[in-house]
């Protein structure tokens, strides 16, 4: 059984991934600050202004990144992968993958690009981005994209969650879900790189991954 390098991630996929990473890092840091300002500004400072500014900029990046990713899934010239995200198919295969990760089985089936746990996790992250964006938009008092009066247009989110205090709590808790995802995600890719020795971890930098040929 030989292994050969396969070009798994085109430049567009990698750029989108790293935009997301930076955006989430910025959102978590600035979000924590908005939640509980831990740096005190001096006489001339504008700490909170900057935090809120970068929070918004990163929020735009995250949302636009998701839109680009959805477009690529549907219409990429490199890898049109929307079929990989079929919920029914992935749910059917999920037990196989869970059995592997929970040490019930020592092997698992081969999957094309994403294993079922991965595919479902990424779908979940897309939903989480939408949820965080909606709650964030409901907290926003300015004009989104310059023309959408966020407070008016997204007041229904506050109504649904039981008031703006609760929108803030949900928004804050969704940050923790992002953090937990990032932790597990990085662990899983390191794990796969260590166990399968297939350069998974490096692939998101270089684009190349080792695949079994047979």
């Amino acid at each position: 059984m030989a292994n050969e390098l396969k070009y798994e991630w085109s430049l567009a996929y990698r750029v989108e991934h790293w935009v997301r990473v930076i955006a989430i890092a910025v959102l978590v840091f600035t979000g924590f600050y908005i939640h509980w300002p831990f740096i005190t500004g001096g006489a001339e400072g504008a700490v909170m202004s900057w935090m809120r500014f970068f929070h918004s900029v990163a929020a735009y990046a995250l949302v636009l990144g998701l839109i680009v990713r959805v477009y690529m899934a549907l219409n990429s010239t490199f890898d049109r992968d929307w079929k990989d995200f079929s919920i029914t198919k992935n749910l059917k295969d999920l037990p196989d993958m869970l059995a592997y990760y929970l040490f019930v089985n020592d092997t698992h089936k081969d999957y094309r690009k994403y294993n079922p746990l991965q595919a479902l996790a990424y779908l979940f992250i897309a939903a989480l981005i939408i949820f965080t964006t909606l709650t964030g938009a409901a907290l926003y008092k300015g004009n989104a994209f310059g023309f959408i009066n966020a407070a008016e247009s997204f007041r229904w989110v506050n109504t649904m969650l039981g008031g703006e205090s609760y929108t803030r709590i949900w928004h804050f808790l969704s940050m923790w879900v992002f953090l937990i995802f990032v932790g597990v995600h990085v662990y899983m890719s390191l794990l796969q790189a260590a166990v399968n020795k297939d350069k998974t971890f490096m692939s998101i930098f270089t684009g190349y991954k080792l695949k079994k040929t047979s």
């Binding site: 939640h35 509980w36 300002p37 740096i39 005190t40 500004g41 001096g42 001339e44 400072g45 504008a46 700490v47 909170m48 202004s49 935090m51 990760y101 040490f103 020592d106 008092k141 007041r155 039981g162 008031g163 703006e164 205090s165 609760y166 803030r168 709590i169 804050f172 808790l173 940050m175 923790w176 953090l179 937990i180 932790g183 597990v184 662990y187 794990l191 260590a194 166990v195």
Partner: protein
């Protein structure tokens, strides 16, 4: 009696009370500013109020509340209580301040109801549990229902009347609700102007009434029935401490140097960022001061679902209540985060065990 005559009488009444025309115009000026009108409107406002020497009759109902709004009303400077009660409005019925009592007062209310055409001002929430809120043997809900129908306009003043406020806070044994909801329950279809605040800012009330006298209609309302002219922006948008917020300068503790310097009260639980009201501009008591100027964080009293859906006065966010658990969002996040870290570590150890096993088998 011609209109001129009425005007003259009206002014004489002012003189009689020792209130100068100048003062009256000052009040009109303050009202114009409040309504966002230019100075050109001052004579128009004066004329509208004078014409209303036919003074729109007002029926003021007191339900479940501490009468703080009535208190605010009679302590107001512009207009002072005398102007307001005797000249601008004809407050025909207000249990707390009228001289009549008992049967006599019920007769006055009945007379007003038959005559109709009054502005109905409601203070206090409406108890819906039978026997929990009665006046002269009548359920408050029924009084509201019969008084609402002949009214030309209904104004709910203060957070009790708008959405239930403090009397409706959990566990709400009297099942108190706000006027809008109570009217819906009673099957009366009528717009209600909600002047949500605890207590109502009398300048808002006068603004709505003068606006009505000027234009013959109620102001534009937001989705909670609050006039957009007073509830269009957050406290935070216009707060005098906003520069400190933007700069990141916060009060961490009362009694500290930061407090003395007038820093932002965000970390002391200020609800200014989620509360819509013109408090920073209009202020209280003839623009002498208001909550944040006085050094207290905004507690969000202008908002729907206040106080239940808001955190404690000095907390930023309310606790999360799950069955059997009550914790801050911070705690929940931290526990979930630590649990994940522990899970990852355990999995990593188990995986290395599997790798060793696989290596051994080879």
């Amino acid at each position: 009696m011609g209109e001129k005559e009425v005007s003259k009488q009206f002014l004489e009444a002012f003189e009689f009370q020792g209130i100068k025309r100048r003062e009256f115009l000052k009040f009109c000026g303050a009202t114009a500013a409040l309504l966002g009108l230019s100075e050109l409107y001052i004579p128009k406002i004066a004329a509208a109020i004078e014409k209303a020497a036919k003074r729109p009759p007002v029926v003021w109902l007191n339900f479940a509340s501490d009468s703080g709004c009535t208190e605010a009303l009679i302590k107001a400077t512009y207009p002072n209580a005398a102007d307001l009660v005797l000249d601008i409005l004809s407050i025909d019925y207000n249990e707390t301040i009228m001289a009549a009592a008992g049967k006599q007062s019920e007769e006055i209310r009945e007379k007003s109801r038959k005559a109709g055409g009054y502005i109905l001002i409601v203070e206090g929430g409406v108890p819906t549990k039978k026997g929990h809120g009665m006046i002269a043997g009548k359920e408050m809900l029924d009084i509201l229902k019969e008084m609402a129908a002949p009214a030309v306009a209904i104004i709910a003043v203060g957070s009790c009347a708008t959405f239930g406020g403090v009397p409706a806070a959990k566990p709400n044994p009297s099942q108190i609700i706000g006027v809008t909801e109570a009217l819906k329950k009673a099957g009366v279809k009528k717009a209600v102007v909600n002047l949500d605040l605890c207590p109502v800012n009398v300048e808002y009330l006068v603004g709505v009434v003068v606006n009505y006298l000027l234009l013959g209609k109620l102001p534009e309302l937001d989705s909670f029935g609050r006039p957009k002219m007073f509830y269009g922006q957050t406290i935070h948008d216009n707060c005098e401490r906003r520069a400190h917020f933007d700069a990141g300068r916060f009060v961490e503790r009362f009694g500290s140097n930061e407090e003395a310097l007038g820093y932002c009260l965000y970390k002391m639980g200020c609800k200014g960022p989620m509360t819509y009201s013109a408090c920073p501009k209009v202020q209280y008591n003839d623009r002498v001061s208001w909550c944040i100027k006085a050094g207290a964080p905004c507690i969000g009293c202008a908002e729907h679902d206040w106080p239940d859906k808001f955190a404690g006065f000095y907390n930023r966010l309310p606790d999360v209540k799950l069955p059997g658990i009550q914790a801050t969002a911070d705690k929940i996040g931290a526990v979930a985060g630590v649990a994940t870290a522990v899970g990852i570590a355990a999995h990593a150890i188990a995986s290395s065990g599997r790798a060793k096993k696989a290596g051994g088998e080879k």
